[in-house]
Amino acid sequence: MVKPKTAYFNKFIHWKMMMIYLVAILCVSIVLTTAIGPVYVSPLDIIALLGSKLHLCETASIPHKYETIIFQIRLPRIFLGLLVGLALATAGTTLQGLFKNPMADPYIIGIASGAAVGAVMSISLLPHFFSIYTTPFMAFLGAVFATFLVYTIAQTGGRIAVDTLLLTGIAVSLFLSAVLSFMMYRVSHDLAGIFFWLMGGFWLASWAQVEIAILPIFVCFFLIYMFAKDLNAMLLGEESAQTLGINVEAAKKILLILSAFITAAAVSFVGTIGFVGLIIPHITRILVGPDHRILFPASALVGGIFLVWTDALARVLGEMPVGIITAFFGAPFFIYLLKKRKGSKYYV
């Protein structure tokens, strides 16, 4: 019986192949979505332009305005989309593994409502008072503060019970939503702005934002990835993981903080885009299986690809908030998955 053994090593090959496919799809997606927008630029021109930037060929024939559209408007948007997709998918995967609950998403521990309260405060009370970074900064503070609050309430005697954490997250989120509604009802003069922020969008994306977001998001991603095996073991139950040599309480705390941080970094610039953190891990699990060692990089790529395309659609549909599109396509797709896998224990 040699078969399962070779099959096991085939698994690693399968993982590599999946990553190669996904990176290829990502590259093609970047080129194709750069073409999409109010002004159409042919993908061939885009490749030529990219080539000239890298000093690989000459591009005298392409108008200068295209270069501005592509390099100053679309590419930063696409790269920010990739980063946010990566961040949300990673946080979603982490929290679903941590909670052993397929319904968990990055916003479940109060991050979204915290960020929203921070952002709306800034939009309503200090409109562009300091700079264009006021809102992202306030959103980040709000997200971190909300997570800290949930975490503090949920822990008893240095331990975190995941059930308590989930319920605390819901309670704090509801409370913050009330604060949010109150501000929108009594204080704010810019409801459209707030609404746009809540649904999320990339229309303000710039290279500067990409530069700010890239470091925390990548650092968090790699740190979370260090815990891939721990999360696998934790799927067997926390006590089993403990007897497998994992410091479960420490791992839980570190992973919670990292996923709060990576999510906060993602939403602070683009608003609370929904559904990515919930459905991307599920889709990826169907593609590559439940092993976190492949699930993290694969879902990061799938998340990036998904957001790049939904944002392209948002551009075409006249700068619609991208959150509307993710939910519009995400929700039916999620229901489809739910129905399809009803027999499996996983969704019971």
């Binding site: 096991y8 095996k229 696998n232 007897t243 040599g245 994992i246 996983y346």
Partner: protein
């Protein structure tokens, strides 16, 4: 039992010393002391809530003992690093459900975690170890199947293989056989036995089924309210008295006919005592042995009659039932003929009774004196009931003497009965 021969270097391998464990402010374990050697299968038994699982959780370092130490080969386990600890101790939890679609081999390979670095992939060697564990537990055939599709018994085998893949010295299992059918119960217990004898593991298992525990464990620990009540071989631990005191259940402990292991079976709880006062004044003496009087004892005691019995051998079912029902009984050492002293005691006891019942017992030279007691009862004009369900010739091993005297009893006025109901009727 044979634990002495299993000691390595004359020193116990796993020592639990004065361990107290608390949940919050509630004390769950109270100065637990025991040790186990390499190659020993220890069963932890006890009623629900007696602290069995807590004991296992304490040994597996999930719960930190408030007082006391746990030593493995002389080393304090609290001083070990997480990964080092899990290279020595592996645990199989009570609940083994896994909701994610890992293959069985994936699950087993998670057991290599303590031996691998954070980003290290499994190598040929790790898969070889996983394969060996899975062959040992007879589940290699399931390697590629998704864990979510396996039956409870198959999953249990995979989880044990996962624990073995840690290459531990100590294997801890929390009720590994509950929820499993009898085939898997036996398969798992045999496996645990094999792991101790062949792999020299220390196996400590919480086991609910007393008979399975008796059948396979080298030694048993009986827990009650967080304390060890007894610790020792099955014969020392599994006594009707111990079980009554801890589980509050009435049982008979017999030796299994095939294996000579302790075999525990429940006694039906006494029926409602009907007009006890009136019945209590009537004393009925049973001449029994070999289990022939057990059910009658139970019926009569339940009806409220005073019952006495004799002469039975110690460890005989009749003896145990009599002890259980608090029936005064004259007993003799196992396989010994009735001594004069026992005979006299028996005669006195029978003389006090209002009625004597001779059960359907076989006669040999050893217990012929019991027949004499029946004859004496008749002489004193006491009512004598004799069971005659098996032909006397078939249960006579005295070359006809017992048969002759038995028939004489019947002609001299003994009343023949066939079952317990006829006895009850006759008493009235």
């Amino acid at each position: 039992m044979c634990s002495n021969s299993l000691k390595i270097n004359g020193k116990m391998s796993l020592e639990i010393k004065d361990v107290d464990a608390h949940y919050g402010s509630t004390k769950i374990l109270d100065s637990i002391n025991f040790s186990a050697s390499h190659g020993e299968l220890m069963g932890i038994i006890g009623p629900n809530g007696s602290g069995k699982t807590t004991l296992l959780r304490t040994i597996s370092r999930i719960l930190k003992p408030k007082v006391g130490t746990i030593l493995l080969e002389g080393r304090d386990v609290q001083g070990m690093k997480d990964k080092e600890f899990s290279r020595n101790f592996a645990a199989v939890p009570q609940d083994t459900t896994i909701n994610f679609d890992f293959s069985a081999l994936d699950i087993v390979l998670i057991g290599r975690n303590p031996h691998l670095g954070r980003l290290e992939l499994e190598t040929e060697k790790d898969i070889e170890i996983a394969r060996r564990s899975m062959e040992l537990t007879n589940c290699w055939r399931l390697a590629e199947r998704p864990i979510t599709e396996l039956s409870g018994g198959e999953r249990q085998l995979v989880i044990i293989a996962r624990a073995l893949t840690q290459e531990p010295k100590v294997l801890l299992l929390d009720e590994p056989t509950s929820h499993l059918d009898i085939k898997y119960q036996i398969e798992i217990m045999k496996l645990l036995k094999r792991l101790t004898t062949e792999e020299k593991l220390i196996v400590i298992a919480v086991i609910h089924d007393l008979n399975l525990a008796a059948r396979y464990c080298d030694r048993l620990v009986l827990l009650h309210e967080g304390k060890i009540i007894t610790l020792g071989t099955q014969t020392q631990v599994l006594t009707a008295e111990n079980i009554k005191n801890t589980f509050g259940a009435s049982v008979i402990v017999k030796k299994h006919v095939l294996t000579n292991q302790c075999y525990v079976s429940p006694v039906p709880s006494p029926l409602k005592h009907e007009n006890k006062n009136e019945a209590g004044r009537v004393t009925i003496h049973l001449i029994c042995g070999g289990g022939e009087g057990a059910s009658l004892m139970h019926v009569l005691a339940a009806k409220g009659y005073s019952v006495t019995a004799g002469v039975v051998n110690l460890l005989d079912t009749d003896y145990e039932v009599a002890k259980l029902l608090n029936i005064p009984v004259v007993a003799e050492a196992p396989f010994s003929p009735i001594t004069q002293e026992a005979f006299q005691a028996h005669l006195t006891l029978a003389d006090k009774a209002n009625m004597v019942v001779l059960c359907n017992i076989p006669f040999g030279s050893g217990n012929l004196k019991n027949l004499e007691v029946a004859e004496a009862a008749l002489k004193r004009k006491k009512a004598l009931l004799v069971f005659d369900t098996t032909n006397i010739e078939k249960r006579d091993f005295t070359n006809g003497e017992a048969a002759k005297r038995f028939i004489a009893l019947k002609t001299k006025g003994a009343l023949t009965v066939k079952n317990e109901e006829e006895v009850l009727k006759a008493i009235k």
